[in-house]
């Protein structure tokens, strides 16, 4: 069953997803995972927030992956997000120059996460956004959502996804800017204020 016969489409069926469980912390997170923006880049932004469960309790055992375009709306093709040191087997971290567009950040004991990336540019008819994939203990299949940035109301009003979403839930997809200039984006997995999650077909 686990040698896939690729000669007929009926036999190429998807491998089911499973939860990441509680013990991914020594395997998946890596140093500088959230330092996606090249050092000193003028278009760097800070994203931060909390991940909450259906009772409003923060999740200390979740992680997010962020994937976004550069300020010109181009998608990065550079590798090197988790550059390794062949001598020690450890991590060198990003080189501070190239933008890979991708990062991985885990929530801390308070359920808080943060990342620095570049302000994404628009692609096609879409308002600028950062794609987010959420993983956690207890989550049998990861969840996709998007972080849109506030400010350009015309672009947000024209965005195909935001137009499709129930207006009462639309704001769960749009970050808010706090006094420090960072963008706050909380993720509520369930219940009041539940984040809009996406399915791609």
């Amino acid at each position: 069953m686990t040698k896939i016969d690729t000669s007929r489409p009926q036999t190429v069926l998807p491998t089911p997803s499973h939860t990441v469980g509680p013990f991914y912390g020594h395997a998946l997170p890596f140093p500088g995972g959230g330092d996606i923006a090249p050092l000193g880049h003028p278009d760097a932004i800070t994203l931060q927030g909390y991940v909450y469960d259906g009772e409003g309790a923060p999740l200390p055992d979740a992680f997010l992956e962020l994937w976004g375009a550069d300020p010109e709306g181009e998608l990065a093709q550079a590798d090197g997000s988790m550059r390794r040191d062949p001598a020690s087997g450890g991590f060198l971290g990003r080189n501070g120059v190239e933008f890979t567009g991708w990062g991985r950040v885990q929530t801390d004991a308070d359920g808080h996460w943060s990342a620095r990336t570049l302000r994404p540019g628009a692609r096609g008819r879409n308002a600028p956004y950062v794609s987010v994939c959420v993983f956690a203990r207890g989550l049998l299949v990861h969840l996709f959502t998007r972080i849109y940035l506030p400010g350009d109301e015309a672009a947000l009003a024209a965005d195909p996804l935001l137009r499709q979403v129930d207006p009462a839930r639309r704001d769960t997809l749009i970050a808010t800017r706090d006094r420090s200039g960072a963008y706050r984006f909380d993720i509520r997995l369930q219940g009041e204020g539940e984040t809009v999650f996406l399915e791609f077909q």
Binding site: T2, P16, Q190
Partner: protein, 257 residues
């Protein structure tokens, strides 16, 4: 009242029967677990109650999610795919070789992409500080590996057979031996984290995590096959496990490949 295995067994059977009824009533095959699968208790407060908003990727080639982050030789070291060589000494346990292909829904190989694995040691203990199971840690085993798929989509790891372990969700709860896999495709929509199991594990019927995949054929796709041709003489037992990534990809980019 203490939650027992018999309680969980009843819930697993009820979920399975409910799926069979949906199928009999004409519902489609469910290749993925439902996020609200309650026999796995950690799901109860961590699944959305609102249906997801569907995005038809064929309507918009500009979607960020239709591209994937890139990984390369800088992101892995040469021995990352050999979990038995990461310390000064040899880990304890039965050495195994696990190999297979990463494919998309059209059966095409996913080339040059990152595969990450993590697992318990041969005694069933993770090298993770929060792990409280009192099986011994192995100073020569961390249980973390990475590799890039080759031009045919193949990955290959050398490791030790992980042990089963208790996990306290209910009285006498045991996880069947498994290796966690994290995979990227050619589109971010194809992202997958899952677990690979070993053939004929007697714990399968009791485990609400593998049973969260209620379709029998889909569940079987999580179980590797013993493959004598992958066994290395005088060294390791071989297991074959192909992985098919779900999720749409950008077909117009791939034409002619």
């Amino acid at each position: 009242m203490t939650l027992t295995q018999a309680d969980i067994d009843r819930e697993i059977a009820a979920e399975h029967a409910a799926y069979e009824k949906r199928r009999a009533d004409g519902a489609p095959v469910e290749h993925q677990p439902r996020r609200d699968y309650a026999p796995y208790r950690s799901s109860v407060l961590r699944h959305p109650k609102q249906p997801p908003v569907t995005i038809d990727v064929s309507k918009d080639p500009e979607l960020v999610e239709l591209a994937s982050p890139a990984f390369g030789e800088r992101d892995v070291t040469e021995i990352d795919n050999d979990l038995t060589r990461q310390h000064h000494g040899e880990p304890i346990g039965e050495r195994i070789t696990v190999s297979g292909r990463v494919l998309d829904r059209d059966g095409r190989p996913v080339r040059g992409q990152l595969v990450e694995i993590w697992q318990a040691n041969s005694a069933g203990r993770y090298a993770h500080r929060r792990e409280q199971h009192d099986a011994p840690l192995d100073p020569n085993f961390t249980g973390v590996g990475r590799t890039l798929t080759d031009d045919s989509g193949f990955y290959r790891f050398t490791t030790v057979q992980p042990g089963p372990y208790p996990w306290r969700q209910h009285l006498n709860a045991w996880r069947p031996a498994h290796i966690h896999f994290s995979l990227f495709g050619t589109a971010f929509t194809q992202r997958l984290v899952t677990q690979m199991y070993f053939p004929s594990d007697p714990l399968f019927p009791y485990d609400p995590i593998i049973q969260s995949v209620t379709d029998d054929a889909a569940r079987q796709r999580l179980v590797a096959t013993y493959d004598h041709s992958l066994s290395v003489p005088e060294f390791s037992m071989g297991y074959h496990w192909d992985i098919v990534l779900d999720g749409p990809r950008a077909t117009w980019i791939e034409e002619g490949r």
